[in-house]
Subunit: 411 residues, 2 copies
């Protein structure tokens, strides 16, 4: 298969499985300008699948970096209302949203974390209604990645730009099941596997998960009543379209009881937040809240995140990913949540997905919090899955079931 | 001088002479994604000159072409209100506006002219308040060009892409006075020359211009009372900043009495409108209105423009450019109004600049029309200057003064 054929296959999988574009639907694409060649392919695939209109929101990370270098904290924290209105305009018309995530992981390394945190906080507040509605699946959405020079060279520092991009393309194709054979069929089989695992967990309705490993993790995560485990497939509230919000995806996930997490958890992989690296960190939880934390690298970045959003100290997601997933097997640290979150079990700081509780999408923020579903500006995954991670599920009668053993599914 | 040095000089000239950026001013840049390398230089130059913030509106012509290919006339004619609000938001805050014009001239060659016309008409209506205010110089604005592959190869079809872009860069540098020496000094001298010519014409206050040449032009253009000739320099209504709205610029221009243009005018160069070519056209005016027209190429494109905007049948600009201007001397047809309008005397279909009449910027549309200043959605320049063009100015007493003789200034 030629590269162009794989590109076409990838675009078709994104449009037909990821977004499941419907006739006469609008599609909004958020993309770095450097990924324009792929955007042209996916945009044309969307029109061919019946999209009425494709709207582009281009981003350029060099201009963004300049802005954070020269403009004041006040300026970068101001979000013009028409920008918000524009997103709400297409949301209210039932548009699908595709985001291409391909950030240079060290882009913001020399920018003041306080400025980055303030801007992220302001953006989170301004777009909260939009994010809440999209997070609740009022509209279809999908996040994918495409190589850019800076990102590819970060992953493959010993290759030249073109070789690095080619190598990253190959990993993206492999992990999104692109190549010889019928990718649609492969995706259906994969979705069935994840769906059956989440069905098992939903039936069990564990009240608590107990995480342990040899690097010092000993964490009890209570699950709220009526929690829902989801995996790969989501259903759009308006119209019921079934879609896949992340490509690749290997995870089965739910929401924790954000007020009943206790113990210590150690990071398994570095977290890149606002383009800055936080590594070898440890978090101590008491009644859901991070009451103590340390980090060998990026302590101030973590501190700024908590400073700008108190609710980032509480958890919003519990995700199970086998340590021997295809992405983990690649042995690559991607510095990109979309990939790294599919390499290991993870938790998320900040907001929960209302779709992870029965009736959650009908609840307002107060009701969600009353049901122990975290509400926050932030949603940031961090990896806790090691090759020796064990997770035990405890049900209402106190029975224990092995869920993960030595980093992999135990059932 | 290296290419990078010239690029830096060009960016500085655009920021300091073109936009004359003020401390803490915002700058909005409209640019094709393909010109990102230059945008990074000009954006940084703006921050260094004191800009508070630089906001990017990226355009991608391939996505735009896809949209015109697949989306319906109704869809391409719908302008979301937040897009308009966004422009008005920065206008109201005193932002400067930089547009990089670098369109592939034949991009839309196979798109239905009716669809293009309808979209252009809808866009013109939606952004009318914005365009009116910017045209009246409520804010500072500047239009420049940067080579793109498609545009450069259209001009230099026998060169490969990189050679064509290099050749086009060289022409752009030459015509914008970039290179050895002090470009700021060269620009000040050039602006003084154009300013002294417009001062002469303003003092004369001709009531009529009579155009003749050997290809059949015989046109009388009446000038309205209190018309103002302008050239190169404009003054911002808010704050009085002096700026140069077009780079390059060789023209001295005013508004005609849009109800008193009579006779026949022949095109001297092809007009590219909505990406389509209109060539060897002839227009017959009676009391200001195009009452008859023909074209050897693109008749239907011209017809669609008139169909979508009745006021495009009336003139809005009279511009004088010596046939031996540096741009004309390059012997190149640029397929880009910014350059081609500076190669020859031209007229414009559609709206006039309110700055071209005393008190014009305080007039509403009705008042402008009552003063014979055209109000339209369209503003489209077309070239009429041939090497043998003569223009005679006739004053209130009937005295004749040669303004142009054999295509060049006669005074």
């Amino acid at each position: 298969m030629t590269f162009e054929e794989k590109l076409q296959q990838y675009a078709d999988v994104v449009v037909r499985i990821g977004l499941n574009i419907q006739k006469d639907q609008e599609l909004v694409i958020n993309a770095p300008i450097e990924t324009a060649d792929f955007v042209h392919v996916v945009s044309e695939a969307a029109y061919r699948a019946g999209a009425k209109d494709v709207i582009l929101n281009w981003d350029d990370e060099i201009c963004r970096k300049q802005r954070f270098t020269y403009a004041s904290e006040k300026t970068v924290s101001e979000i013009p209302q028409p920008l918000v209105d524009m997103k709400m305009f297409y949301l209210s018309r039932g548009a699908a949203f595709l985001s291409i995530h391909a950030e240079n992981p060290t882009l913001m390394a020399d920018i003041d974390p306080q400025k980055l945190g303030a801007a992220a906080g302001a953006k989170g507040k301004a777009f909260k209604e939009f994010s809440d509605k999209l997070g609740a699946n009022e509209n279809v959405w999908c996040v994918i990645s495409v190589p850019t020079a800076a990102w590819a060279q970060q992953i493959f520092p010993n290759k030249d730009v073109e070789q690095a991009k080619e190598a990253l393309w190959n990993v993206i194709f492999d992990t999104t099941r692109i190549g010889e054979g019928d990718p649609m069929e492969k995706w259906h089989a994969h979705m069935n596997d994840l769906t059956s695992r989440s069905a098992f967990l939903n039936e069990k309705q564990f009240v608590k998960l107990h995480y342990t490993n040899s690097i010092g993790t000993d964490l009890e995560v209570t699950l709220p009543e009526h929690h829902i485990w989801a995996g790969a497939l989501e259903k759009c509230l308006n119209g019921g379209t079934v879609f896949v919000p992340n490509m690749p995806t290997e995870e089965v996930f739910t929401a924790p009881n954000c007020d009943a997490v206790n113990g210590v958890v150690k990071s398994a992989l570095p977290l890149i937040y606002n383009g800055k690296r936080i590594d070898k960190f440890s978090l101590t939880f008491k009644n859901g809240r991070v009451v103590d934390f340390s980090a060998e690298e990026g302590y101030d970045v973590l501190a700024a995140m908590f400073e700008n959003d108190e609710r980032a100290r509480y958890l919003g997601e519990v995700a199970l990913v086998p340590y021997h997933s295809p992405i983990s097997q690649s042995g690559i640290l991607f510095y990109n949540t979309l990939f790294d979150e599919n390499a290991a079990c993870h938790l998320a700081f900040g907001s929960s997905y209302p779709t992870c509780m029965q009736g959650g999408t009908d609840m307002n923020d107060e009701q969600l919090l009353a049901h122990h579903m975290n509400v926050a500006i932030t949603h940031e995954d961090f990896m806790v899955g090691t090759p020796d991670l064990n997770i035990v599920g405890i049900d209402a009668e106190g029975n224990e079931t092995k869920i993960f053993e030595n980093g992999d599914w135990a059932f």
